[in-house]
Homo-oligomer: 345 residues x 2
């Protein structure tokens, strides 16, 4: 089959790789119909996150079950399924608690030795625990909405929950990438009264408004903190979503939080702890929680809303490519001419 | 009157200072009958936290109302009262939400221009909001138990709540000072099933056991993390109390937390963010919350238990002095020959 392979920073290739095979009884093979490129894939593309030359890439996909191992109980060939960005067995104590990202047998698509989501097919370990089966007959537009649950929308939801978005709350969102925008949508879904999006790209702030942002501010850093305070009577936002992962974004998020509030962070931290203003957090009782989102825990709840027509994160996809177009997709996201790239292998 | 004054590191003096006067309508004057020395006072004593030469010190006290300003509605001379370590107006939105430490008119006893708790009397601003009146006729032993609510027990409670101590949980406590020990007591009070105290001083671990610790480990750093994991089937503690405030203690606390758990931190952070292992927190969804404890919010609830005879943190006081003995009290806490020093001015 053909799949996306990363060799070095900015060296993304589409090439022939071995067809996936059932190797464990709990495996399934999924033929990928929809995949996409994540902002976090750019860390590898830019060389900030290391990869082995020849490693697969891509961790968001949806497709049709092609084969299942003898130990798979709940899935059958022909079913359409969506995969969260981490596989998990569904039976361990962490999975039962809804923190499938800490499953001891779990792993990330594209890690060494596994298939990536940006290819024609994927071997899915512990398929019963990992995959979520979809109703038959969904149209393409709906499938694109469901694809967003594999990571970006689930991650926005995780950030919004971690930040404490709730009815009546003011939520500020640091980061106008696809995850930040999904954080806006998640905050609105959780009942936030006011949602302040930080961003300066007109095409992105337009999506933020569409997703529920009541205010948009273009400032950054200390000026952004001051702007959030001005909009909130001097006190800051009850809940702040940090969806970037740099030292500056973390510092901005903490500064924009109201005393006693939370920063919910989902940007993979590449700034180290330097931006975690612990003295300020201490004095003002600002909490910090979040991390890698247990998408598997959230997909059933969010899927229900997608199928009911009340949740649609698909506007974050503003470019669509076939598998051959994936390298151009990376380049477009890297130069910010694309927000998020949909792939139809 | 006489009061404790700090001039420089290790230069603590008892001297004559002006008697406190009512200067604002909401003031009260409290004649101090019981005070104490806090572990955080040692940061000033050691010169780690700066103080102006001649600044007062001490922020935990209990005493009798001597006079009230014309704007005081709820207090009258002769009442015995306990003060939380921060004054607050009781009417602003933060006070109403139970985060009195963020009251815009609030302040700390001993800050420049204010009286400290380690003296014969204190001018109490916004007395209606700040002071908690006690029933008449409490005996001395009970008053000592109540004094602990001014800071150390309320701070231990804040840490335990922030960490998520709850029925059935395993709680680990980093720090065997008075706050850490009160964290043990608070965790037990909140129903924790298992409480692992980190400490190596026999007199302190004995108190930890008495306060409810089910396990005591003497290791530090990575070895302490390994010991907590071994006691918890490899997963770590649901809730970790960080009651020291150094880079190493924060790193230990985060490492000892179970995936998805919380570190509740109340040690004044003197290590900066270096020990905040944000990458590990992200991968394992470990949250961090806490800070300066809103003792004023907790005193009524904890006081009820003290008066009911079910809460007694007074074993943390292992040395008692008059005002003249305060410098010796600092020296004893600084060389760890005393855990916490009670003062009867």
């Amino acid at each position: 089959m053909r799949a996306t392979v990363i060799y070095a920073p900015k060296d993304i290739r589409i090439q022939e790789v071995p067809d996936p095979q059932i190797t464990e009884p709990g495996d399934a093979i999924v033929r990928v119909t929809h995949a996409c490129i994540c902002g976090s894939d750019l860390w590898a593309y830019q060389g900030v996150a290391g990869r082995e030359p020849g490693q697969r890439i891509g961790h968001e996909f949806l497709g049709v079950v092609e084969a299942v191992g003898p130990g798979v109980a709940t899935l059958r060939p022909g079913q359409t399924v969506v995969a969260p960005f981490v596989w998990s067995d569904g039976t361990c104590e962490f999975c039962r608690e809804g923190l499938q990202t800490s499953c001891p047998v779990g792993g990330f698509w594209g890690q060494v030795g596994s298939d990536g989501g940006q290819g024609e097919a994927v071997r899915v370990p512990v398929a019963d625990g990992t995959l979520v089966a979809l109703p038959d007959g969904l149209d393409d537009a709906t499938l694109v909405k469901v694809l967003a649950l594999a990571d970006v929308m689930s991650t926005g939801h995780h950030a919004a929950r971690a930040a404490g978005a709730r009815p009546g709350a003011t939520v500020a969102v640091v980061g106008d990438g696809a995850v930040g925008l999904c954080g806006v949508l998640a905050a609105r879904r959780l009942g936030a009264e006011r949602i302040i999006a930080l961003g300066r790209h007109a095409s992105r702030t337009a999506i933020a408004r569409r997703f529920g942002a009541t205010d948009v501010i273009a400032e950054r850093g200390d000026e952004a903190i001051a702007a959030v305070q001005e909009l909130t009577g001097g006190t800051g936002a009850h809940a702040v979503i940090e969806a970037v992962g740099t030292e500056e974004s973390m510092r901005t998020a903490i500064g924009a939080a109201r005393d006693g509030g939370f920063v919910g962070y989902v940007g993979v931290p590449h700034g180290g702890p330097a931006g975690v203003e612990i003295g300020q957090m201490f004095d003002r009782n600002v909490g910090l929680r979040g991390g890698v989102a247990p998408a598997r825990a959230y997909i059933p709840e969010l899927l229900a809303d997608v199928l009911a027509g009340t949740l649609d994160a698909s506007p974050v996809f503003d470019m669509s490519v076939g598998l051959a177009g994936v390298p151009q997709g990376y380049a477009a996201m890297n130069d910010r001419s694309a927000l998020k790239v949909l792939i139809r292998p």
